[in-house]
């Protein structure tokens, strides 16, 4: 069984989301660093959500098959 890259992206995205939530809600932000903390946690969570979305949409393609781009038509013919 081959490890697919989408799982790696999903794991990395989950780590980003965990980091963002930690900085947002658990980290004791030093005085004057609130703006930096806000942007860092926002970027981590946004990229994490994008990563999870991309990995969910990731579709494994067989390079030997030519994608006609008309899956519905093929399904109908079957």
């Amino acid at each position: 069984m081959q490890f697919e890259i989408k799982y790696l992206i999903a794991i990395l995205a989950a780590i980003l989301i965990f980091g963002g939530l930690y900085f947002k809600f658990l980290y004791d932000v030093p005085d004057g660093e609130e703006i930096t903390n806000m942007w860092v946690s926002w970027f981590l969570i946004i990229f994490g959500v994008i990563g999870i979305t991309v990995s969910t949409l990731w579709k494994k393609r067989n390079p030997l098959e030519v994608d006609s781009g008309d899956d519905v038509a093929l399904d109908d013919r079957r």
Binding site: P30, M38, I46
Partner: protein
């Protein structure tokens, strides 16, 4: 692109929009420094030591996890301070300032008071001299106060800085006024103590 893909993309966009609104929407509550603050209510307080006074309650909900309420005499002019979650109240006897103080996780209030706040006061105030240090309780929370004298351009001043422990930040309540006002215990019992004792963390 089938329905499932559209659903996944819509969910991702919804989460991003919701989190962005939560992050940036909460910043819009920040008040500008010097903005006049309005009390949430005013009540008459009957005191055994002196005449009854009217006090106004102010609620600060700017910093999540550090919401608090405090009462000032109704004749005080209360404005928003420089920092988020801070107030300045001007009275004939002197000036109150309330602000949140970050206490690092690996430290505590007395340590910060003696190793950061006191040295900072000593280096910024002319003729700083500590005259008192006490521990007491405010609304079930431990508190420490530091009394000190200093000199401004025209007169000898005295201040009392009380730090009230909280679950995240601590609150610093400072009263500063001319030294002769402190000579009479009246100011201490009718103005300073009631304000400090009225401080209350909301939800802690």
């Amino acid at each position: 692109m089938n329905k499932l893909h559209i659903l996944i993309i819509a969910a991702g966009v919804c989460i991003i929009v919701a989190f962005s609104l939560y992050t940036f929407g909460s910043r819009s509550t920040f008040h500008k420094s010097g903005t006049k603050e309005s009390p949430v209510n005013s009540v008459v307080q009957v005191s055994s030591r002196g005449p009854s006074t009217t006090v106004s309650t102010y609620m600060n909900r700017e910093n999540p996890g550090n919401f608090y309420s405090i009462q000032f005499p109704s004749k005080a002019v209360v404005e928003h301070g420089n920092a988020s979650g801070s107030y300045t109240a001007r009275l004939p006897q002197g000036v109150f300032s309330v602000q949140l103080v970050d206490i690092p996780d690996n430290s505590d209030v007395p340590l910060v008071l003696l190793t950061h706040i006191q040295p900072a006061l000593k280096s910024t105030l002319q003729g700083f001299s500590r005259v008192g240090y006490n521990q007491f309780n405010v609304g079930g929370h431990r508190a420490w106060d530091l009394a000190y004298t200093w000199k401004n351009a025209t007169a000898r001043m005295e201040s009392i800085k009380a730090i009230v422990e909280g679950s995240d930040n601590a609150a610093s309540i400072t009263f500063s006024g001319p030294r002769q006002e402190f000579g009479t215990q009246n100011t201490n019992f009718t103005v300073i103590k009631p304000v400090i004792e009225s401080f209350h963390w909301i939800g802690q």
